[in-house]
């Protein structure tokens, strides 16, 4: 049975009508028209669907819309803009990280939360924070370079 939900997405409050079990991913993509969180596995194994919920990275493919409540959702579109980029976005462009780029939400949203809470991280800490995220094109070396560049920018 469909229910009404009010979601705070990238600073904007939006109403949707959906089956409470619907994963947040489909609500964001299909009901709210946001294309950037992607379906990769539907199993919380890859990260392509990652968004922030009250600042914490979560996998929207397994998070029912009914579990979101009034938590603030931030997607990649809300992380930064070409005019006001997040340091990770700047670093990703500088390092020319993506190949296909379908995995990008997982790495950027996870790294953004990590760098916010961990200043001057070591290589091992960065790797550990990003463990489990998938990139099939093999851009891992560039990803590490970009995260380190962003960490340096964030002091």
């Amino acid at each position: 049975m469909n229910e009404k939900f009010s979601l705070n997405v990238d600073g904007k409050s939006q109403g949707v009508v959906a089956d409470p079990d619907t994963p947040l991913l489909y609500v964001l993509r299909d009901d709210l028209g946001l294309n950037n969180p992607h379906f990769g596995c539907g199993l919380a194994q890859c990260g392509a669907c990652t968004v922030h919920l009250d600042g914490q990275p979560i996998r929207s493919c397994i998070t029912p819309v009914s579990a979101v409540g009034d938590a603030k959702i931030v997607t990649l579109a809300g992380l930064g803009t070409p005019e006001k980029p997040h340091p990770l976005q700047t670093a990703y462009i500088e390092e020319q990280v993506p190949q296909c780029g379908y995995c990008i939400n997982g790495w950027l949203m996870t790294a953004a939360a990590f760098l916010r809470d961990n200043k001057k991280p070591t290589d091992a800490q960065i790797r550990s924070a990003l463990e489990g995220l998938k990139c099939r094109c093999g851009t891992h070396v560039s990803i590490l370079r970009a995260v380190k560049r962003a960490a340096a920018m964030m002091g």
């Binding site: 993509r29 946001l34 379906f39 980029p85 020319q96 296909c100 780029g101 099939r136 851009t139 891992h140």
Partner: protein
């Protein structure tokens, strides 16, 4: 004088503004109204305007019949076109993979984007410049040989007052110039004009490390992938596959999904799918639908007997593509010593980052297909075929898919979406689920490889023999232009037509007696198989060269010769020698035989070498690894790669391409194996098909780019994948003295091998 056809007024409207259509270009503005323009003039491979257009504002559109798999090839193509035309790089927009605006140059295929696709665009741009200078000569009343071009302005050198721009000469109009087309489509298409491309010594744009413009849209969530295409009125589709490969639905209970809004079943023989208005509803319907399946006998051997199956299976076809050198059999008879080894490589999956997606809209027998397939022109032909329509009724628009490394599941998705759309009379967006993406995509073939070398009394290699026995490289062709090459075709009654072919090592070892060959065996299931084979990045290259370059290391070790010195002793090609030396020098290679014998304890390290050719590109790689003996875990810590693909168009794009190759190949070497039981593939997600994790990512990939401006550029999208497995295996041997002859080098397997 070249006749010029007016385009009926150059429209400044953006391309294809209709709902959901996506502009695929490396820049923002797209000057022509392409749909209208090409309706007026058929797109023909022998027409210059099929490749190059000068817009009224002097910008240039380059129409490319290949696509970008994530390496930024559009940048390289724009550089080649801008260079020949003498226009700024920023003035060129590359439009790729739309059958309405580009001829069939084969799509992404065999790392030929620059090698073949770029060659054609370069020739076309050079011809366009020649024609434009002729036009300017007439207009300015000056002989053509006195004219130069600077930034798209044709001028008389010192008399800058006498000048005319490309835009003034032809902006918004067709060239109407016929090229010397070789009559071929796809990769071999070539249609040069009368002009000769520039001398490389005059290059200003080619060779520059220009960055991609399509990275920023990706990181700012402004980029659309194929799964992001939305068409008004579309419904969502999902496919249903059997638990036992080969089973077909015997009965389908449509009432089992009647509570799901808009849910409908589409069933035709083995083809079974559902659609619903909402995506989550389509997913639920696919899960909830009650299906009774036919009794199919389990079609596969147990995985544990895969390699025995290959060994024992009747040979379907045998071939020795290169003539034998000398007399191998006689040389072995007289050998003082024979060294032999056998290697094994499993089935591997594309396991693209996201499951494939396709969107199909059919209106009055006119079809629009949005596809992530690497070969959209062929996909158009396939969709036309399965719908019973002529190809000209189908327009395929390539939109980047969620990863593409060959003939993955995208080709099947397009055909499935077409059948669903036809059945329900609405546009359909179909996306597979994860288990289907990994479980049911075409696989890279499993294989065994046998090598032997004859050594004479002086320790010289006098004979070498190498043969592969394998599932064929393509059960389904690397494009989906025929229904028999797709799941949809096979499940609706068109039998598989398995191709036959494999490959042999590519190198220049000058052994006096040498014979290489391959043998193929029949597929395990004659239709709708989750183990059907097709091309995955550098098709059969990693398999063959894992074996051949491991074997060279084995021979070197047996003869107690340094692995680099051994190769330099026998390799005959000058470019091969150069890459081998460049990699060794950059890595600080110290000459000594493997294995090293100075280590004890749990953690050991080693270095390994491998080199390959890949039709003309050459790559040599040094791998440095660390091994935890107690866990069997290998960390490929550092790679040093020397890469020669002839003339370098863009060193920045090339470096990233090589890095991606090396990391993905490391993943395939250490982790990747399609698991299956006798009923079906059981690798269905990232747990059952693990790939390299960031925690195991190499620390360093050092790349030496060897630029040869005078040699035509050749492929880079695949070659660096080829030598990686052998380099790692050779490094493991160097560290441990233990030879790993089976991929993947998973911790359990390595641990067992070390104990």
């Amino acid at each position: 004088m070249n006749r010029i056809t007016k385009l009926g007024g150059p429209s400044r409207r953006a391309l294809l503004k209709t709902g959901g259509a996506l502009v695929v270009s490396i820049g923002a503005a797209v000057p022509f109204d392409f749909a209208r323009a090409f309706a007026l003039s058929p797109l023909q491979p022998d027409q210059l305007s099929s490749y190059i257009a000068v817009n009224a504002d002097g910008t240039v559109s380059a129409f490319f019949g290949k696509i970008d798999m994530g390496h930024g090839i559009a940048v390289a193509i724009a550089q080649m076109v801008a260079e020949e035309l003498d226009v700024p790089f920023k003035a060129v927009k590359v439009l790729m993979g739309d059958t309405a605006t580009s001829v069939n140059q084969g799509g992404a295929s065999g790392a030929t984007g620059v090698q073949n696709g770029g060659k054609q665009l370069r020739a076309a741009a050079a011809e366009a410049r020649r024609v434009l200078i002729d036009l300017a000569a007439e207009k300015l009343g000056v002989p053509a040989e006195r004219l130069s071009v600077n930034g798209g302005i044709v001028h008389t050198g010192t008399e800058m007052a006498k000048s005319v721009s490309y835009g003034e000469l032809i902006g918004g109009r067709y060239f109407n110039v016929t090229l010397a087309w070789n009559g071929k489509i796809g990769n071999p298409l070539y249609a040069p004009g009368k002009a000769r491309p520039k001398d490389p010594k005059d290059y200003k744009i080619v060779g520059q490390p220009i960055k991609r413009e399509d990275v920023a849209p990706r990181v700012f969530a402004q980029f659309n992938f194929c799964p992001d295409v939305k068409v008004p009125g579309m419904v969502h589709g999902r496919m249903i596959r059997p638990a036992i490969a080969g089973a077909v639905p015997a009965s389908v209970d449509e009432s089992s999904i009647k509570d799901i809004p808009g849910a409908r079943v589409v069933w035709n023989q083995g083809f079974l799918g559902v659609v619903a208005d909402k995506e989550w509803d389509a997913i639920k319907a696919a899960q909830q639908l009650k299906v009774t399946w036919s009794n199919a006998a389990p079609p596969f051997p147990d995985q544990a007997s895969l390699y025995d199956h290959i060994r024992k299976a009747p040979v379907r076809k045998q071939e020795s593509p290169d003539p034998q050198t000398g007399n191998v059999d006689d040389a072995f008879k007289g050998a003082a010593r024979v060294i032999e080894a056998e290697y094994e490589w499993p089935f591997q999956s594309h396991a693209s980052m996201g499951p494939a997606c396709a969107v199909v809209e059919i209106k009055n027998d006119q079809v629009t297909l949005w596809t992530g397939s690497q070969k959209p022109h062929f996909t158009r032909d396939g969709v036309a075929g399965i719908l019973g329509l002529p190809p000209e009724n189908v327009r395929a628009i390539w939109v980047p898919g969620p990863g593409s490394y060959g003939r993955n599941d995208a080709g099947d998705a397009a055909m499935d979406a077409a059948l669903l759309a036809k059945a329900v009379g609405k546009p359909v967006r179909l996306q597979y689920m994860r288990d289907q993406a990994t479980g049911w995509d075409p696989k890279a073939p499993a294989s065994i490889h046998r090598a032997r070398a004859a050594i004479d009394a002086a320790g010289k290699v006098v004979a070498y023999e190498f043969t592969s026995k394998a599932f064929p490289r393509v059960d389904v062709n690397s494009n989906e232009s025929k229904p028999h090459d797709t799941l949809a075709g096979q499940l609706t009654g068109v039998a598989l037509q398995s191709g036959d072919g494999f490959g042999v090592p590519e190198d220049s070892y000058g052994f006096a007696n040498k014979r290489t060959s391959w043998e193929t065996i029949a597929p395990l299931l004659d239709r709708g198989s989750p183990l059907r084979t097709s091309h995955l990045r550098d098709p059969v290259g990693p398999q063959i060269h894992f074996a051949s370059e491991s074997f060279m290391d084995e021979v070197a070790a047996a003869l107690k010769i340094d692995p680099v010195a051994f190769r330099l002793q026998y390799v005959t090609d000058a470019r091969d020698i150069a890459v081998i030396k460049a990699a060794a020098e950059k890595a600080g290679w110290q000459s000594r035989p493997s294995p090293r014998k100075d280590q004890s304890g749990n953690k050991v390290s080693g270095r390994g070498f491998a080199y390959v050719q890949r039709h003309p590109t050459r790559v040599a790689v040094v791998a440095e690894v660390e091994i935890d003996r107690s866990s069997g875990k290998i960390w490929a810590r550092k790679f040093t790669v020397a890469h020669d693909c002839g003339q370098i168009i863009n060193p920045d794009g090339l470096l990233h391409t090589i890095e991606g190759n090396v990391v993905q190949a490391t993943s395939r070497t250490l982790w990747e194996e399609v698991r299956f039981n006798n009923k079906n593939v059981t690798s269905v997600d990232w747990l059952s098909y693990p790939i390299l994790d960031i925690t195991q990512t190499p620390e360093t990939i050092d790349v030496v780019l060897i630029d040869r401006p005078e040699i035509a550029p050749t492929g880079a999208g695949e070659p660096a994948t080829r030598p990686v497995a052998a380099a790692i295996a050779n490094a493991v041997f160097d560290a441990t003295g233990v030879r790993i002859r089976r991929v993947p080098f998973s911790p359990d397997y390595v641990k067992a091998a070390l104990s």
